[in-house]
């Protein structure tokens, strides 16, 4: 191998890694059902492949392209690590050893999808969204802006750092138990954080109250007050339990039916004055 760069620890320069970062931000442009994100992966790898195969024969370049057009599907932010590691592997393997590149890339995409989805899509994004939505429902235009800023504070740096760190560390990051344990710990912590926030949102974002009241003699019994004494936000809790059980039983197949069902029943109840 020829010159190694001080800053990146390998053949690729900072400019190459930066170019890969930009391309990673266009990962799903040509998504298809047969090979999913494969084309996007190739697109992201091109700056690395160009540099690594600069003086190699055409057939090796062709093989590299074909190699990275194979099936790939994972979560984009977590993929930044896979991209970095793959680039390091491409650089350090000879033409006969290229199978290991495919093996590592394919082996990582499953667990990383789970990690990335768990951290970003199902924890951080809902947190940003709920804070932003709460403000927006009060009429505060800062809500959407806050959501945008908070989310992208995680979105962009993880992609940048992932590529650089993955390339720098190479495969050594994932062999051995230390990596697996770390991933499990981070997943669990994210899960806890997400659950606390969702628990709070059951109370803050679901608006369900009953307007029923009964007159007994001279005093009126307001049902909602009674319910609040049992448990504040009782109705939202019951509704969430119902939706959750429904989704679990039907394995999330009848999502739209659930939404329409709640709307229709909700409209009927509201018109009858049962809810307000």
């Amino acid at each position: 191998m020829s010159k190694k760069n001080e800053s990146t620890g390998g053949l690729l320069t900072k400019k190459d890694l930066r170019s890969m970062f930009y391309r990673l931000n266009f990962f799903n442009l040509s998504f298809n059902m047969e090979r999913m994100q494969a084309f996007g992966f190739l697109f992201t790898m091109i700056p690395a492949l160009r540099k690594i195969y600069e003086n190699r024969p055409k057939v090796e370049r062709a093989n590299a392209i074909k190699r990275h057009l194979e099936f790939f599907n994972s979560q984009i932010n977590a993929t930044s690590l896979i991209v970095g590691v793959t680039a390091a592997l491409e650089e350090t393997t000879s033409e006969t050893e290229k199978d290991s590149v495919i093996a590592v890339k394919t082996g990582l995409m499953g667990p990383f999808a789970g990690l990335g989805d768990g951290l970003l899509k199902f924890t951080w994004l809902p947190i940003c969204a709920s804070i932003g939505a709460a403000l927006a429902l009060e009429g505060n235009a800062l809500g959407p802006i806050l959501m945008f800023v908070m989310f992208n504070l995680m979105n962009l740096p993880t992609k940048w750092l992932g590529i650089h760190y993955g390339y720098h560390k190479g495969v050594s990051m994932f062999t051995g138990d230390a990596g697996k344990i770390l991933i499990a710990r981070v997943s669990n912590m994210a899960n806890v954080l997400g659950l606390v926030v969702v628990g709070g949102m059951i109370s803050s974002s679901i608006k369900l109250r009953t307007g029923l009241s009964f007159d007994i003699g001279e005093s009126a019994i307001v049902i909602q007050d009674l319910l609040d004494k049992i448990l504040p936000s009782l109705l939202p809790v019951l509704l969430t339990v119902f939706c959750y059980s429904f989704l679990k039983k039907t394995k999330r197949k009848h999502l739209v039916a659930l939404i329409f069902g709640i709307l229709i029943v909700g409209i009927i109840l509201a018109m009858l004055g049962i809810t307000r």
Binding site: F26, M33, F151, V192, L195, V196, I206, T240, V256, L263
Partner: protein, 260 residues
Amino acid sequence: MLVKCILIALFTGIMAIDNVGPQMWRRPLPISLVIGLILGDVTTAIAIGATLELTWLGLANVGGSSPADMIMGSAVGVSLGVITGGGVAAGIAVAIPVSVLAIQLGNIWTTIGIFIIHMADKVAEEGDFKKVQRLYFIQPTCIFLTYLILSFVAIYLGSAVLESLLAMIPTQFISAMSTAAGALPAVGLSILLTMMLKEKNLAIFLVLGFVLVAYLKLPMLAVALIGVVAAGMWDYISIIGQKTANAASSMETNDEEVDL
């Protein structure tokens, strides 16, 4: 109005690319802010956007299939909700069906993409990165144009249709609709829970968050910070639990060795 619809349509096209690209802005709430600015009614727009955001919380593109096209749904729903004056009720009523119909768009492109990648296979033989790269931009161009044209048609033509529809519906119904829409975040939250409650013993943390809001009425950011503390404590407890288990098993082996 025409200019505004064109601007919204352009923005929708850009959001469709953001959806398959950087993914920085493409959610219902941020989209509603821009549409609100274009139409001159930010308050209504972001109210619709926030409701949609909470309904679709936890709905994400997992493994290539999407249960709702949030881009088309938000763009058309927010726009028509503001333009017709129907507010949150009209916005939701439009957004949900549109989001379901528009999924078919995604299916068309992901199928056509198969032909494109086969073309790339052939070009791969030449070992030419530039040539392969050119094919990469066919699909996104089509996606952009589709969202641009369809959203424009839906909003420009749809507003007239929807306005006359709304005039026929009694206000009582519309306010009932708004009340009903307030319960929709339950759907989004339960979707999220089906993903998160894989570890049954963590469910107790829901109670923590619930108490903080229902009884203590803390703002969401405070709840999130306390959640971080809870996560840190859980991690610490897990590590201690692991160490105790390791220590116990190594003590057992020591006893066996002594027993000669």
